[in-house]
């Protein structure tokens, strides 16, 4: 074969390879348009308190072009149920999982085992006892700051004169670390004011000693306290609380709650999914933890423009 013959075959071979590469690239591009799937495992997923969180997830999924699946869960999840739900979601093709961890000492360790399969992002609070010791990224509000802000509003209402007053704390037991942080925030702000904590309970306030102020540290506790207040079962005690549902807002609107601190659940949902989606898009990019903001709302401010948007996200 002469020189030009060799060149002819080389050129034809190179062109053929390029055609194959282009065709492969075209197919890959089409396949890459298939959405990645991110599953979310939260307790009592259908509860109204998750409305803003779910709306944030939905918006982020739309922005990030990923498929969002919120696993259907029971009101209360045990550690095993949650782990099984996560495993099932992974088996069903989840590329990443967003988890609201349930209480359990070795949950973080178990999650670490699952993280080898897919990236895991935590929301609302970490699985470790202390936030700093958690090895998982998380998106959550500053629990301590929220408690502190709530107590500050209380102090404002009483012009700092809380001497001789009593208060009770209502909080759920299934998120001990977050709740303790909120409680510590409250206690920090109220120390040296003369106010005394009469009780700290999970669940009902019935048969509890009378107090002047009830501080509810989570949405469900707040609604329970507000319901009691609306039914005049609190003996005139004022309710201050942290909540993130339209019910909580309603009780603020109707005067059953004096002050409401609302964590930005939209941002919790939005940033957690955005981080997970970014991690899927860039293999070597780690997920970052975020602390989202909160808003202090008083009754007279509820329908102000900025607060209407918070209500809007809760209404979705």
């Amino acid at each position: 074969m002469n020189n030009s013959g060799k060149w002819f075959h080389v050129i034809e071979a190179v062109l053929a390879v390029m055609v194959i590469l282009m065709a492969a690239a075209m197919l890959l591009e089409k396949n890459s348009k298939q959405y990645r799937k991110i599953s979310v495992v939260i307790q009592d997923a259908e509860d109204t308190q998750w409305a803003a969180f779910r709306y944030g997830l939905k918006m982020a999924a739309q922005d990030q072009k990923v498929e969002l699946v919120v696993a259907s869960t029971a009101d209360v999840l045990t550690k095993e149920e949650q782990l099984n739900t996560i495993k099932r979601e992974i088996e069903l093709g989840a590329d990443a999982v967003i988890v609201q961890p349930v209480p359990g000492d070795d949950l973080e360790q178990k999650l670490r085992h699952l993280e080898k399969k897919v990236p895991i992002m935590l929301v609302e609070y970490t699985a470790a006892k202390e936030r700093e010791k958690s090895q998982f990224p998380s998106v959550e509000p500053d629990h301590s700051a929220m408690g502190e802000a709530l107590a500050e509003e209380l102090k404002k209402d009483y012009c700092g004169n809380l001497s001789g007053k009593k208060y009770g704390i209502l909080m759920k037991a299934d998120a001990p670390h977050a709740m303790n942080s909120r409680r510590q925030g409250v206690e920090k702000a109220l120390q040296d004011t003369g106010i005394v904590c009469s009780w700290v309970v999970d669940g009902s306030v019935e048969n509890k000693p009378e107090v002047d102020i009830v501080i509810a540290l989570d949405n469900n506790s707040l609604i329970k306290a507000a319901e009691q207040a609306a039914a005049n079962n609190l003996h005139g005690a004022l309710v201050y609380g942290i909540g993130n549902s339209t019910q909580a807002a309603y009780y603020l609107d109707t005067g059953s709650v004096e002050c409401l601190v609302v964590p930005d659940e939209f941002s919790v949902g939005y940033y957690s999914l955005t981080e997970a989606a970014e991690r899927l898009r860039h293999f070597f990019r780690g997920m970052k933890s975020r602390v989202v903001a909160y808003t202090v709302i008083r009754r007279e401010e509820l329908f102000e423009e900025r607060n209407q948007e918070i209500l809007f996200t809760m209404c979705q």
Binding site: S4, L15, V19, M26, M59, Q62, D63, Q247, F303, C315
Partner: protein, 610 residues
């Protein structure tokens, strides 16, 4: 260093030229095709977006018109027709009918007096504790421009408590109405709260395609009514250029917002002044072009493959006859005698014919030159021989004359007899080449004549090997050497001069030597013997060894000729060195024709004659 690149072959050159040309054409074609597709696709996207927006705009207008019609119907058919003090049930009934008929899009219908107190509402619900509507935007707007209907931006309805713990997102249509209470006309405000979900549904429908292109709705001030990233914008995660866009009239605009280039299509909703805005980021245009890009590149590559094959076929077809012609010419130049290739196109055929004719002419000319050269050599030889004949004749006749004058008639007879032999061999029927035997005979005759002339003052001996006799030689080569030996060698020798002629055959060469014991020559003289033909000779005709040497070399080649060795007072030996070509008629003719025998030919000849 200046390296000259090797010239390319014609086939490579043609193929490279064709390939570059076709690649350029394909590239230009591809770019033009892509641009054309791109422009057409962009135009299509814009047109379809415009159409969709027009349609949605019409739907929105219909929706808003229907709301206005509800407001008109409540006002003109219910409120104006009845007195609130006495006909409150009729008013409630009328409002209920209208509400029920449009409940899908309505959240509530309410009438407030000029103090902001609720007079009637549908559906009947508990009013919130002191909502203070006079501080609400829709109420204030209604009284600000009493002649108009006012559409608010979306907001949470803050009027009723239906105990569902829910909040509704509504758009309020408010207007000042004239109502009658206890027969007294007064101003009030009619509020029709539209469910935001109605508009939201319409907008979501057109925003369903998640390809980067999106639509939003804003009022004339740029306040966003619907945006699919509304909360992200409020939270500062996303941004929208709504305030600037609200200033645009209907049409298509180029927009550069936060570094992103995009097309903005604006459609104004009549009466409200709301703007329906369609945003097409340029990335969306490109997104639609990805497949076309790949398709065009693959198409170009396939075309390139095809063109390379076509180029190859064409270049081979064009260059093949030229290459064949070149091959035959190369073979010809290498000394072979191939047929010159004649084929291919008319021009190549003509070139082939032309080259063939040229080679034929060259052959003819070569043949002619050879003939001419032979002729020239022959004439040179003849001229040389004719130089010898008069010289010798002069000497011989001089000797005979001298004998006759001395009455030595017997000697004269012998002399004449020897002369006759001499001439017979000299003539040799006009031949130039004779055998050595005849040449030696000629030399003997010559020496016999000379001995007579020189009164036997020297002796001559012949010692020649037998096989030498049958070899070819140029005739009359020994005679001038012998003459020189007599004239220069025997001078002053007083009867003791000796001349010895020897003939040997060694290594395919014949050497005939004439040795004398005369006075000899100096080295300088020896060097001049064969080179200086213009020397003045002391004796004889002046034709000497130079001529003999030339003749030998003309006929046998430059490596043959004479060799002169001499020592002063010792004597001189002149050797004739010629190839041992067997004497045959054929060889004689060849030699006379100018053919120079190679060593191989001589060996072959010798073998044949043994």
């Amino acid at each position: 260093m200046n390296h000259k690149s090797k010239p390319r072959k014609i086939q490579s050159t043609i193929m490279a030229a064709f390939s570059i040309m076709s690649a350029s054409i394909m590239l230009v074609l591809g770019i033009v095709m892509y641009l054309r597709f791109s422009v057409a696709s962009k135009h299509d996207i814009i047109q379809s977006t415009k159409k969709l927006m027009e349609q949605t705009g019409e739907n929105l207008e219909d929706y808003l018109v229907s709301m206005r019609q509800i407001s008109d119907a409540v006002y003109y058919n219910v409120i104006k027709e009845n007195d609130f003090s006495s006909q409150d049930k009729d008013i409630q009934k009328g409002m209920n009918l209208l509400y029920e008929a449009n409940s899908r899009n309505l959240r509530s219908i309410a009438v407030y007096n000029h103090y902001g107190s609720l007079i009637a509402a549908e559906p009947v619900a508990l009013q919130k504790e002191d909502p203070d509507v006079t501080r609400q935007d829709w109420y204030q707007k209604a009284f600000k421009e009493v002649e108009n209907m006012h559409f608010s931006t979306p907001h949470i309805q803050n009027l009723f408590d239906d105990h569902t713990h829910r909040y509704y997102w509504v758009i309020s249509l408010s207007r000042v109405v004239e109502l009658t209470d206890h027969g007294i006309p007064m101003n009030g405000v009619l509020l029709v709260d539209m469910d935001y979900a109605g508009i939201s549904r319409m907008m979501k429908k057109i925003n369903a395609i998640n390809n980067g292109q999106y639509y939003y709705l804003c009022d004339s001030n740029g306040q966003i009514i619907y945006h699919n990233r509304q909360i992200q914008i409020s939270n500062g995660i996303a941004y929208e250029n709504s305030i600037q866009t609200a200033k645009y009239k209907d049409g298509v605009y180029e927009d550069l917002f936060r570094g992103e280039k995009r097309k903005v299509i604006v459609n104004t909703i009549s009466y409200t002044g709301w703007k329906l805005v369609g945003i097409i980021p340029y990335a969306t245009f490109n997104q639609g072009m990805y497949d076309i890009r790949y398709f065009i590149v693959i198409l170009i590559l396939l075309m390139a493959m095809m063109l390379v094959v076509i180029n190859r076929v064409i270049s081979v077809r064009i260059s093949s006859p030229i290459l064949k012609l070149n091959e035959s010419v190369t073979e010809y130049e290498a000394g072979e005698k191939p047929e010159i290739y004649i084929g291919g196109s008319q021009e190549i055929r003509y070139l082939g014919y032309s080259i063939q004719r040229s080679y034929e002419q060259i052959d003819e000319l070569m043949h002619k030159i050879v003939l001419e050269q032979t002729e020239r050599r022959k004439s040179e030889l003849d001229a040389l021989q004719s130089q010898i004949n008069p010289h010798f004749l002069y000497n011989a006749l001089d000797s005979i004359t001298w004998m006759i004058e001395g009455e030595r008639n017997d000697d004269a007879v012998v002399m004449i007899s020897e002369l006759a032999k001499l001439f017979r061999i000299s003539l040799s029927k006009g031949r130039t080449i004779i055998n050595i035997k005849d040449e030696l005979q000629h030399a003997k005759s010559y020496m016999n004549i000379q001995k007579v002339r020189y009164k036997n003052s020297f002796s001559i001996t012949f010692d020649v090997e037998q096989e030498v006799y049958a070899c070819c030689t140029v005739k009359l080569v020994l005679q001038p050497i012998l003459e020189n030996a007599i004239n220069y060698g025997m001078e002053g020798m007083d009867d003791c001069g000796e001349i010895k002629v020897t003939g040997t055959l060694k290594d395919g060469n014949v050497t005939l030597s004439v040795a004398d014991n005369g006075v000899g020559m100096s080295e300088e003289e020896v060097s001049l013997v064969l080179t200086d033909s213009n020397r003045i000779h002391k004796h004889g005709s002046g034709v000497g060894l130079v001529n003999v040497n030339n003749r030998i070399q003309i006929l046998f080649g430059k490596e043959y000729g004479l060799l002169v060795e001499s020592e002063p007072d010792e004597g001189t030996t002149v050797s004739v060195r010629i190839p041992a070509v067997p004497y045959t008629e054929e060889n004689r003719k060849k030699l006379e024709m100018g053919h120079v025998f190679s060593r191989e030919e001589i060996s072959d000849n010798k073998a044949q004659h043994l």
